[in-house]
């Protein structure tokens, strides 16, 4: 049981780390497009790892209800499809309305 707890803790910790990095990137990066780089990628893996941790925990702690890990697996699948699509949609909307991309050496916005 100890090894399961270690694995779950590592997964949850990694997930929280990547979500945190995404949030820091949102604050530090200079413009709209680069900020989307931080949130669009880190949130996908961060949420995925947290749900994976919950899946492993549930699988070993309550083995009689296998439907819950299966549902969580579907959740990961849908996040991995929906997140890049949404990022792309926001990016496209910004590009079409003429948000100027930041270049190296300019001031941050």
């Amino acid at each position: 049981m100890v090894i399961v707890h270690v694995v779950v803790t590592v997964l949850l910790g990694a997930g929280v780390f990547f979500t945190l990095v995404g949030s820091i990137g949102l604050l530090r990066f200079p413009d709209f497009y680069t900020r989307l780089h931080a949130t669009g990628k880190c949130d996908t893996l961060g949420a995925g790892l947290v749900i994976l941790g919950a899946m492993v925990y549930h699988f070993f702690q309550y083995p009689e209800t296998l439907l819950v890990p299966a549902k969580l697996a579907f959740l990961i699948l849908f996040i991995f499809i929906a997140n890049p699509t949404a990022t792309h949609a926001i990016m496209k909307a910004a590009y079409k309305t003429g948000v100027e991309p930041w270049r190296l050496g300019e001031e941050r916005r």
Binding site: F17, R28, H37, K41, T87, H88, K92
Partner: protein, 167 residues
């Protein structure tokens, strides 16, 4: 569309939705199972063209190759996150954003979708626009190296083309 394909699409949609119903409900008494199956049948009859439209060939081979492609993609996602974490946490923030354009030979809806989402999830690049007629992509890259990976190496384009058997 031939008659056999029509029935295959109907049956396939029905089976997928029935499995999904059982998974999500988790209640196995007669009432819930029968009402679920009735709903699945109605939805399958109305929207069978959405899932299987009978246009493309070699569906089984493509699905197998797509499943083989996913582990590589997951590894790329991990690399992408480490890359972004490095750029975010580095005190000098080594970024040099630029927008690149390139054309691919892909034309299918699903292959273009796969490539666009893969580009967004892999290190340092996000798809901005896709023009399906010419297979043209506008991509925002966070620095020069990830842009070169798409423009010069073209590993990802070749992998997606291989998955969907489009040259």
């Amino acid at each position: 569309m031939r008659k056999g394909e029509k029935w295959f699409g109907l049956l396939f949609t029905f089976c997928v939705m029935a499995v999904f119903w059982v998974l999500l409900s988790g209640i196995f008494d007669a009432f819930h199972l029968i009402s679920g199956l009735v709903c699945c049948a109605i939805v399958a009859i109305i929207s069978r063209d959405l899932l299987v439209n009978g246009k493309s060939e070699n569906k089984l081979l493509k699905s197998l190759r797509l499943i083989m492609y996913i582990p590589w993609e997951l590894w790329q996602i991990v690399l992408a996150n480490i890359d972004v974490a490095y750029r975010v946490l580095h005190p000098k923030m080594p970024i040099d954003p630029l927008i690149i354009e390139f054309e691919t030979t892909l034309r299918g809806d699903f292959s273009l979708l796969t490539l666009a989402n893969s580009i967004t999830l892999t290190p340092g690049t996000i798809t901005i626009l896709v023009e399906p007629e010419r297979g043209k992509f506008w991509v925002h890259a966070i620095a020069k190296e990830p842009a070169d990976a798409l423009l010069v190496d073209q590993t990802m384009q070749r992998k997606v083309a291989n998955v969907f058997i489009e040259t």
